[in-house]
Amino acid sequence: MFAVLTFDRDPMQIQDVPMGLLSWIQVAGGWAAAGVLIWLLTGYRRMRAEEKAHISPWLKRAFVLSVVVSVLGYVAAGLGALATLLPKFPPALAYYAIGFGFTAGGVGGLLAAGLPFALGLASVRFRRIWALAKLSFKEAIRNRVLYGFSAMLLVLLFGSWFIPYKPEYQVRSYVGVVYWVMKILLLVTAIILAAFSIPTDIRRQTIHTIVTKPVERFEIVLGRFFGFTALMTLVLILMTSVSVVYVLRGVDPEAAAESLKAREPLYGTLHFENTGSAERGTNVGREWDYRSYITASAPNQEPQAAIWDFPNVPRSLADRDSVRSEFGFDIYRTTKGFENRGVSCKFEFQTANFNPRDKDSYNTDRGRWMGKGNLFSQKDIDEWLEGYRTRLSSASPPSNLNDRLEKKRARLTANKMSGDPPQYRLSETDIDDELAEEYGYFVLPAKDITDYHTQYIDVPAGLFRNAFQVSSTAARPGASGVQARVSVTQQSSTQYVGMAKYDLYLRLDDTKGGHEVAAFTANFYKGAFGLWLRLCLVTGLAVALSTYLSGVISMLVAGILYLGGGVIDYIQSIGLGTAPGGGPMEALFRLANRQVALIPLDEGTAATIATTSDVIFRWFIRRVLDLIPDVDRYDLTTYVGEGFNIPLTHLLLDVGVLGLYLLPWFIAAYYLLKWREIAGPT
């Protein structure tokens, strides 16, 4: 819509890692425990005494211990679940038992399944994996797989005939198209190569000459995975390099201004005031309720305000001349408004040191100094400094008072004009900067907002210098620890301005650096890294599946899991029961009784049966959900297309998430290939 990022879910942060790990242990551990159980019931029973004799005693002990821990954990979780039904049992304790039990059960399951795997990894040798990877690489090249990628040429040659764009969206459209084409070509090729390689080896019996060498079978899995990944990586680098030239070539200046850059945004947290709810503004009835709207205040009411708090502003911002705050808001009009004019909004920036009671004094000062026509006499400067000293000393004066005053005098008198008596030149920006540092406040009383454009305000850096001064005079506004706050109010009562958390941000990168194309290019490669992660995902998934399934089936399953990742939010809503209309039984019940989806069901036996069986259904859906990769998180196209820098932590977290997703699949592949009889009866 405009060059701001929209997030359906808040992106993962470093502080989310412990919780993520915990839930991974519970989920992956649950699957591992189920796998161990199945093995105990089938595989272990078929194991012969001779085979059991070959297992080292300490491994046996460790395995038994892990299984015991797992069983105890799940028993505890089960008891906890039963305890929730008891009226007198403290629910907190019950939920603690459930959480702890699932975690312990998961840890036990993971250890039981992972120990032999980890031991097996010890005999894996890189040189053999490398040989197998090289083989896969050569195989793909000599089978002329890469010819398929020449389809990319079609896009590069003729794409611009068909890609529609408005001038300011050119970069976004091109980036979207080239990433999409790269995605389709690479992922489809990777999934086919990976899914068919091991089954073909088995079918053609070429694998016989490999497993009769001193090759650990898991090395074949890793060799295939690394080989195809390496090949696809080279292709990806090449395609990305060609694509970036294609995108950069002949960029429209408007498009360059909009998104040919890599902004580093600092996001705050958003809340609303005087709208009736801190989380929501006024609902204008738009179906997509991502944004909340504010309007002008009714008479005798406090104005509706959207307020962003920035708790952690980096110190480096104080060293700049100004800091750019960018925003893109949506406008909902109930009247036509003024032609060719946007909606006027008031932007107030303040720090924790700002005392709201000083607002009048700020306005008086600002009016006074702005009225000087940029030329200040020595007397004006002295008055200004005296006023500042008075205000600072009024409560408890800071220890470095004189130092501050001297520094301020030096800044105010920096631009000395010739003449007698001497005069000092201060631009309006300088005055705003000084006042912002003094008060911790900066206001833009009327800024015209138009939609479909990113707009910006250059905030004087004095505001941030103020934020880092130790406060002594002013009471902190609002929540503690807030270092900067932006509040937006609006002055037309027939217009609504819509905003979401990610619609306003401070630019951490220096907009005056002039490295925007370089930053964009680097960002383009980072975006390709997201594609690379998806490549690893499908390759790993398909190779792991193909250790047990046939080529076609592996390809289909990997493809379906990947596509499932694209609609994971919807599947989640089914699994959690938040989808309107309930599960299949409830839906059937509603259909039969001609009941609307949103009306609660009447109580009755049939309704109870329907909703209860849906609980079981949802449990299965959630287990399916465990298997589905969160594909969209690796899609970084919008970052690049909208001109936002992809944070390094984002990429690192993605690598971690991918690794944790693939690990259980690889453990499963390890066992499946190890237990599999490579040769058939013939």
Binding site: R48, E50, A53, H54, R125, R127, R128, W130, A131, L132, K134, L135, K138, E139, R142, N143, R204, Q205, T206, H208, T209, I210, V211, T212, K213, P214, V215, E216, E677, I678, A679, P681, T682
Partner: protein, 330 residues
């Protein structure tokens, strides 16, 4: 494990059984039943049997391609499923299933890497083996262009890349022409002289008879005969006698009958021995190499040689032509 291996026993199976099952675990076919055998250091051991008798199953069990349903197999004292033993094993599958997009050099380099051989060693070993199997001229061609015999040769080369102590050959002579088969057999004997142990699986009995020291005969998954070829084939009720520089005549026959009767025996046959078709074929090919331009002319073939021998008319060609029916083209 309470199991002791005799020092020179390389392979031992104890009650080795393989039952193929379907998906539900129901028994489908017993491919091998309680096989007990030992293969000793430095011998050429032949596994014989009709199709589906369990010989390939045995080999696959020894290689860890299949897992036993019951019993155990040990190779170099280690369980057959242990991949470490593969360091000392070379395997030539029945159809050399190799990667068809690689050429001979790349194939050997690839398999050399799987043995963790250092690069210089891989290089020299590959060249040496390519020389031995006679693929020097074709070493840069991808295997998909190779004939069956050539694939068998490169297959043998890859089986020897690690200088194995135990070589397992599944139908080594299949797909080879008689010349190739002879070459293969010579090579197998050569391996034996270098102290290697060889297991070969074949249903070409003459090949087995030619090279094997000991054999096992399987049928329907059960061991039917097991022991030294010579001992197994020796017919103690008959005596064979060969002599040279003798004309076959009625008086000779009569005298011999007299002599044998005196010792309580009976003359069954007397005649000129035939050579094997293989020897005959090889001689023809050798001769044709020695005389380029010579060819077979119809109507010149000697008719009913055996018959003439039996009728005691001597072995001189009746029409005075060449004994092989071949004539120099003039």
């Amino acid at each position: 494990m309470g199991w002791r291996m005799q020092k020179d026993v390389i392979v031992e199976t104890r009650k080795l059984t393989k039952i193929y099952r379907d998906f539900w675990g129901r028994q489908k076919k017993t491919a091998l039943r309680a096989l007990n055998m030992e293969i000793r250091q430095g011998e050429i051991f032949g596994l014989l049997g009709p199709n589906g008798s369990g010989k390939t199953t045995t080999v696959k069990l020894l290689l860890g391609l299949l897992y036993p349903t019951d019993g155990e197999a040990f190779v170099f004292g280690r369980p057959a499923a242990d991949v470490v033993k593969n360091e000392r094993v070379g395997y030539l599958p029945e159809e050399s299933y190799l990667y068809r997009f690689l050429n001979a050099e790349e194939t050997l380099d690839f398999y050399g890497r799987l043995f963790n051989l250092p690069p210089s060693r891989r290089e020299t070993k590959a060249q040496e083996l390519i020389e031995i199997v006679g693929l020097k001229a074709d070493r840069k061609r991808p295997l998909r262009e190779y004939s069956k015999g050539m694939r068998q040769r490169i297959g043998l080369a890859q089986a020897l890349i690690n200088d194995p102590d135990l070589v397992i050959l599944d139908e080594p002579t299949s797909g080879l022409d008689p010349l190739g088969a002879r070459w293969m057999k010579d090579l197998i004997r050569d391996l034996k002289t270098r102290g290697k142990t060889i297991i070969m699986c074949s249903h070409r009995l003459e090949d087995v008879q030619d090279v094997c020291d000991r054999i096992a005969i399987l049928n329907e998954g059960e061991l039917q005969a097991y022991g030294e070829v010579q001992a197994l084939l020796q017919d103690h009720r008959r005596v064979e006698l060969r002599a040279s520089d003798l004309e076959l005549s009625e008086s000779l026959r009569h005298d011999l009958e007299e002599l044998l009767r005196k010792h309580g025996g009976k003359l069954d046959t007397i005649g000129h021995p035939t050579t094997t078709l293989e020897d005959y074929f090889l001689r023809i090919v050798e001769e044709s190499k020695a005389h380029p331009g010579r060819r077979f002319l119809p109507g010149k073939e000697p008719a009913g040689r055996t018959e003439k021998v039996m009728s005691g008319q001597g072995n001189a060609p009746a029409d005075g032509g060449s004994p092989t029916g071949l004539t120099e083209r003039r």
